[in-house]
Amino acid sequence: MPVQVIVFGQLTDILGHQPVTMEDAPDTNTLIRRLNQRYPALVNAPYIIAVDKKIVTGNTTLTGGNAVALLPPFAGG
């Protein structure tokens, strides 16, 4: 099941500005493992994960329709 991943802030230095499509990502743990393989600089980057604009903690099941976003520390204002 392919999942679209978008990133923001300093993570765009690693993954770029375009959504990245990851094949075979049944849950967020698997997704992150695969992203870490493809983008080794991601391993030590701080971020939280949002699925469909809600922050998730712990491993979360994904379907092809989910929008996954990796969010580095917020810096508004």
Binding site: F8, G9, Q10, A50, L71, F74, A75, G76, G77
Partner: protein, 148 residues
Amino acid sequence: MATEHKIRNIFTTGPISASFIADSIQKHDTKTNIGGHSIFLGQVRADVIDGNKVAAIEYTAYEEMALEKMHQIREAIFAKYPLVCMHVHHSLGKIAAGEICLFVFTSSAHRREAIDACTETVERIKAELPIWGKEIFENESYQWKENR
């Protein structure tokens, strides 16, 4: 009192001008149940880091998520404080040092509620909205802004 609010856009491209702020203030002169307004303005600082001076901050956001979150914050603030109104504006794009990038404006019958609501809203915006800032130095190098 439960108040229903629609999701409103808070983002504006480019800096927030003093005349925009003035217009916003002016519009409240018919709301004669207001006794106090509290305003916070965030301004881009020309910090010097390792000899490089910040020329601008380029703001980006996960806009859809930020607007949903701001809506929740607004509802929570209105539930907590007896406000007459609240206005929030945040810049996106490149904002030069000295320009204004955040405008939070709360109004209530008595000062304490307006002040507390404004302060809490500013803190929550900084902590909870998915917004990022790229500090662009005069020599065109950059670093990512971190909130404290």
